[in-house]
């Protein structure tokens, strides 16, 4: 999340990927870092350790949202 915020500060298109369980933490960090609107996409939980097949499914299911977040101008 912080990496995303730092890149966004450099005007580099960015999207933070957060699983459902970590969504509140993402909100907290975004608020604390002064960039509450940094683009992020909500993924199902868990992702890590679930195997290549499930990861590929999650990537496929969320690719459109990720591309959209990277190509639509974010509000400050």
């Amino acid at each position: 999340m912080r990496d995303g915020i730092e890149l966004a500060r450099l005007n580099i298109p960015v999207v933070a990927l957060l699983t459902e369980e970590f969504w509140p933490q993402g909100d907290f960090v975004a608020q604390a870092a002064g960039m509450p609107a940094v683009p992020r996409v909500r993924l199902p939980h868990p992702v890590a350790g679930t195997g290549p097949t499930r990861m590929a499914t999650i990537a496929s299911d969320n690719a459109t949202a990720i591309v959209s977040a990277l190509t639509v101008p974010a509000s400050p």
Binding site: R2, P24, Q25, V29, A32, A33, G51
Partner: protein
């Protein structure tokens, strides 16, 4: 009775009495779940005075929330933790240490791993201030250990903003997240004190802080044979490199090894100093990759070869504490973060206070 309560050193709350003030602190989420001493302005100012520093001075922002760690906010949390003013220099040094960017505090507070800052006190003021180093030093019964460690935790919650499940994402946590502080038993140890490795003098008082898992007990019964010291080192190393540890699975991170006095004497008698102990532990703390892959095949490591748990001997913190006997302790670490869970340190400053004119 009306009792003013200063929560963060700046806001002043009101409560009908001391009991209600404690309840208010609980309701506001300012405690660790245990009752806190009410940080009245008088108590906080006494704690600030013990530092000899302007209460408004900020020594940094504390992650993950980025709150300003002013002397006064630190003091308020030290009061809540039950510290007496004499302990404030240790609290302040501990906060300064974890604010060192090499400690990766914001990342550490947010990890799902069970890790907590272990405070290790060295130097003459540790004993003067009653920081226990002997039997049960990491357990209950020692006011200084309990309150210094608790003060740092309350700072991490109330200044850093760490709250379970939203900003402190430890899946389970560990009891050391209430308090985690001890001193090295320098008086009895045959080995050089930990703080000398950082370049301090023996007469300096220093805190070393490292993110650590709870203690993993290491049973070793010494024989009278010449191989005993080496066997002890191998048992310690095997615990460091246990197949579930982050250290061996990431080949990084600091590890804390607390030798009981008998084990320390055994190694010292065999000619080991701390540097040599660390070198041997770094050498011995390994696993075969194919063995590790039987347990965690999805971590993407090489299929064969030797996996080192430690990058170098510099990642091993060796200290002597606890009672004498069969058990020493290993504390693995998170091993992640930009600086891979590095240990940090800070001198306990006691020369900042002004001279009391009538003393």
């Amino acid at each position: 009775m009306t009792s003013g309560t200063a929560i963060d050193g700046n806001s002043l709350l009101e409560a009908a009495d001391n009991f209600d003030a404690i309840e208010l602190l609980h309701q506001l989420g300012c405690t660790d779940g245990l009752p806190a001493i009410v940080p009245t302005p008088e108590r906080v100012e006494a704690m600030v005075l013990a530092t000899g520093i302007d209460g408004d001075l900020s020594i940094g922002s504390m992650g993950p929330g980025g709150g300003a760690a002013t002397i006064r906010t630190i003091a308020a949390n030290a009061v809540m933790a039950g510290c007496i003013p004499d302990l404030m220099p240790f609290v302040l040094a501990s906060v300064r240490a974890v604010l060192d960017p090499r400690f990766d505090l914001g990342e550490m507070q947010g990890t799902t791993h069970c890790t907590a800052p272990l405070i290790i006190a060295n130097g003459p003021l540790s004993e003067t201030c009653g920081i226990a180093s002997g039997f049960g030093a990491l357990g209950p019964g020692f006011r200084s250990n309990a309150t210094i460690g608790r003060a740092l935790r309350l700072c991490m919650m109330n200044i850093g903003g760490a709250r379970p499940g939203t900003s402190d994402m430890a899946l389970l946590g560990h009891p050391g997240k209430f308090t985690f502080c001890l001193a090295e038993n320098e008086a009895d140890s045959p080995l050089e004190p930990l703080h000398l490795r950082w370049g301090y003098e023996a007469e300096d008082t220093v805190v070393t802080v490292v993110g650590a898992e709870p203690p993993h007990s290491v049973l070793f019964v010494s024989g009278d044979d010449a191989d005993s010291p080496d066997r002890l080192l191998r048992v310690l190393a095997a615990t460091i490199a246990n197949v579930g540890s982050n250290n061996v699975n990431m080949s990084a991170g600091a590890v804390t090894v607390v030798l009981n006095i008998d084990h320390a004497n055994l190694l010292h008698s065999a000619g080991y100093n701390k540097s040599m102990i660390a070198e041997k532990l770094a050498e011995y703390a390994t696993q075969d990759a194919d063995h590790l892959n039987r347990f965690n095949p999805s971590l993407g490591r090489p299929k064969s070869g030797v996996v080192q748990a430690l990058r170098s001997p510099d990642d091993v913190l060796v200290l002597v504490a606890g009672g004498g006997g069969l058990y020493s302790v290993v504390m693995p670490s998170w091993a992640a973060g930009p600086n891979r869970n590095s240990a940090v340190h800070a001198r306990v400053e006691t020369d900042q206070a002004c001279q009391v004119p009538w003393a």
